[in-house]
């Protein structure tokens, strides 16, 4: 592997990390297609690299946000039961999935989320601070309105199911799975976008840690590629964190949907080529 490829992976990691921290994703959804379709790495090597960057990005983003009350630790931990089981099952079953099947899953997942994001652009879910958030809800300072707001968690079984699927997809494709959880938590479970994104950002690291060791043990991790990607993602996510607070949520969602639609077309083309 040449210095040019190392530099390219660091650069791609930086872009993915920046977009990832802006959108509350691990960034894997942008990086894995680049490594797989762009650099021609095997799907499983790309996925293993993606999982490493997800862990790094998750820890960096959550550490940067700690103290802002956006992260819902209790809800996150409860949903992590489902995501880690999904991730663990994925790590064992991915060996039996063909590249065709993986491309198809990637295309379907990204297409579904892209549509979901566009149809739920303005759901904010924030309640007055006087409302009791219940055992699982939370309160935080809302930058958009400048007030203290509260939210309640609804339809927990739906959130758990979505988390299981997100965990499975994360462990199979090497993406964080935030693209699946964040819209569901936001659209149906009553969690405001920023709280859902921050909680998901914390969760995806734990989720990825349930499948990464299996990839590592099987030799699917290419250490220099993974190192370059992790370093790039850390640089990018720090940059994204610094400017993310000022970007309007609505345009973040439109940007996210557009990128996912492009990734989806790419993988459907791969699956049916």
């Amino acid at each position: 592997m040449s210095i040019a490829i190392v530099a390219g992976v660091i650069g791609a990691g930086a872009v993915a990390g920046c977009l990832g921290s802006l959108l509350g994703l691990g960034g894997g959804v942008f990086l894995v297609p680049f490594l797989n379709a762009g650099l021609g790495l095997d799907f499983r090597v790309a996925a293993a690299t993606g999982l490493m960057t997800v862990i790094a990005n998750s820890s960096a983003v959550s550490a940067g946000r700690a103290g802002r009350n956006l992260i819902n630790l209790r809800l996150g931990m409860l949903l992590e039961i489902a995501t880690t089981i999904g991730g663990l099952i994925a790590a064992f079953t991915v060996a039996y999935l063909s590249n065709h099947a993986l491309a198809l899953i990637f295309g379907l997942v990204t297409a579904a989320i892209s549509v979901l994001m566009l149809t739920r652009l303005d759901r904010r879910n924030v309640l007055d601070a006087s409302v009791s958030p219940g055992r699982l809800g939370g309160r935080f300072h809302d930058d958009d309105t400048g007030r203290e707001v509260a939210y309640q968690v609804k339809r927990l079984p739906l959130g758990m199911s979505a988390s299981f699927v997100a965990g499975y997809v994360s462990g199979t494709l090497g993406i964080g799975g935030g693209i699946l959880k964040v819209p569901v938590l936001n659209a149906w479970c009553g969690v405001p976008m920023r709280a859902a994104a921050a909680t998901s950002a914390l969760m995806i690291g734990v989720t990825a840690a349930a499948s990464a060791p299996q990839y590592f043990a099987r030799g699917d991790v290419n250490p220099p590629v993974a190192a370059a990607a992790v370093i790039g993602v850390l640089i990018g996510s720090n940059f994204g964190l610094r400017f993310g607070g000022r970007a309007p949520v609505k345009w973040l969602k439109v940007l996210m949907a557009a990128v996912l639609a492009a990734v989806s077309v790419l993988y459907f083309t791969k699956a049916f080529a």
Binding site: A56, S59, A63, I81, L88, R135, A212, A227
Partner: protein
């Protein structure tokens, strides 16, 4: 009966978890950077390879450490529902290291 949310304790936990995650990621990042520089400058070799592997293992263990920290905190708060929740996540993560595919 579930203990009521102790907002201050949870806030403190959030900050401690943040510091723990940061320490893990920085340790991993330093190992990975030195390993990668050695790997590209000197070519594949034992020194670079070992450092890269150590960095990746530390990285993979960071979320596990954060789950352990949460578990200790919930036990201390006597919040048994969330202590049990965290314990289940811990068991799955340990299984990820121990099970053979």
């Amino acid at each position: 009966m579930i203990a009521p949310a102790d907002d201050q304790a949870i806030d403190r936990l959030e900050r401690q978890v943040g510091r723990l995650l940061q320490a893990g990621v920085w340790t991993a990042a330093v190992c990975l950077t030195i390993g990668l520089v050695s790997w590209t400058a000197l070519g594949p070799g034992r020194f670079g390879d070992v450092l890269l592997r150590i960095g990746l293992i530390v990285l993979m263990l960071t979320p596990l450490a954060r789950v352990v920290a949460s578990l200790v905190a919930y036990v201390r708060l006597r919040d048994w529902f969330f202590a049990a929740t965290t314990l289940m996540v811990f068991v799955v993560l340990v299984a990820a290291w121990l099970l053979k595919s």
